[in-house]
Assembly symmetry: C2
Homo-oligomer: 208 residues x 2
């Protein structure tokens, strides 16, 4: 997904450090979807990536710093796989469909534990602090992204203006959220197809 | 919810032990919805209930035994608050509505971290073992309960027989699952009302 970019010689050292940090954080995100973000100690990550604890301490000073950097990496990946590709849609409704479809593909092909944030939010939502703030801020932004798109589709007369945009977003996100949970629980692509079907049906009912 | 029952004198000693075990396990379930089931060590629980670790070891020999007993207690409570009261419904569709409404009330009034199982499943679904088995078995039984009720409503001509029962159950559960998650994340009763509204609308569309 991120092939090494050619770097100018005098930048090589720093670029290597950056790539290494990114590779470590992707491994951390993967691990977090399986063992929970709280299981993500520097010791556990060192074992997973085959580095020394002191080597990892050079990158991240504390467990919390590591957790926050991991969330940031997972968020950038989410934007890259789910949000950015939908920018090419030609209408708001098409963009909404692409956002949901991209999400379901991201669930199936990115992390062993499904959506990083769907496993993160239930883990941290009862524990105040910067990690919870980062998780909830992602959630709010994602719901906001869907809501903006729904409102755009309403203004473009693709969706009925009498639909409550937040209610519609709730119903779309509900299918994505349960689709992910059942996929992780072993229901496989059936769960994602149920989500697709529910969203298609709901959007058809909301069409003008 | 469980007032002390009058016990015959010669049973008193054992009944006290049972009540005490039950009280400890309810505290454990409460703690698990906030700190995760994995945070539920005997040491942490001893601190929360004000007992000695050795006192708790007399009840539960290991962390896993404690976790499994906690799941069992949470399950009995779920049956008592959500499933059992719906038995009084006079038709299958009424029973379906009661199951979902009871669930939403249980989310709001039972544990600080919302539905015990909605926080349990994402935590353990990637970790094979008896705890994951117990969580997924609960999930399968709950979805099965909803599906049986939907099929009964179809046979009673209350819901359209052409509806795919499992798809309908997916959509109902999706609203319950996200309603709970957003309630825990601080959206309060708005989240539960969105779930209510989505389910009511979906059942109306599926009505004969």
């Amino acid at each position: 997904m991120h092939p090494p970019r050619p770097d100018r010689p005098h930048r090589k050292r720093r670029a290597d450090g950056e790539r290494s940090r990114e590779a470590i954080l992707r491994e951390a995100a993967k691990l977090a979807t399986v063992e929970g973000l709280d299981g993500l100690s520097i010791a556990r990550l060192a074992e997973a990536v085959g580095m020394s604890k002191s080597g990892l301490f050079a990158h991240f000073g504390s467990k919390e710093e590591l957790q926050l950097a991991t969330i940031e990496t997972a968020r950038a990946l989410f934007d890259e796989l789910v949000v950015a590709p939908a920018a090419e849609a030609t209408t708001p409704l098409e963009r909404l469909r692409q956002l949901t479809e991209n999400y379901l593909r991201y669930v199936d092909g990115t992390f062993p534990g499904g959506c990083f944030f769907a496993s993160l939010v239930p883990e941290v939502d009862t524990r105040p602090g910067p990690v919870r703030d980062a998780a909830l801020s992602f959630m709010a932004d994602w719901l906001g992204e869907l809501e903006t798109t729904v409102r755009d589709a309403q203004r473009a007369d693709e969706l009925d203006e009498r639909e409550d945009a937040q209610q519609l977003v709730f119903e779309i996100e509900a299918s994505l959220f349960l689709g992910n949970a059942l996929w992780v629980a072993g229901h496989g692509s059936t769960a994602l197809d149920r989500a697709r079907h529910a969203i298609e049906r709901r959007l058809a009912a909301a069409a003008v």
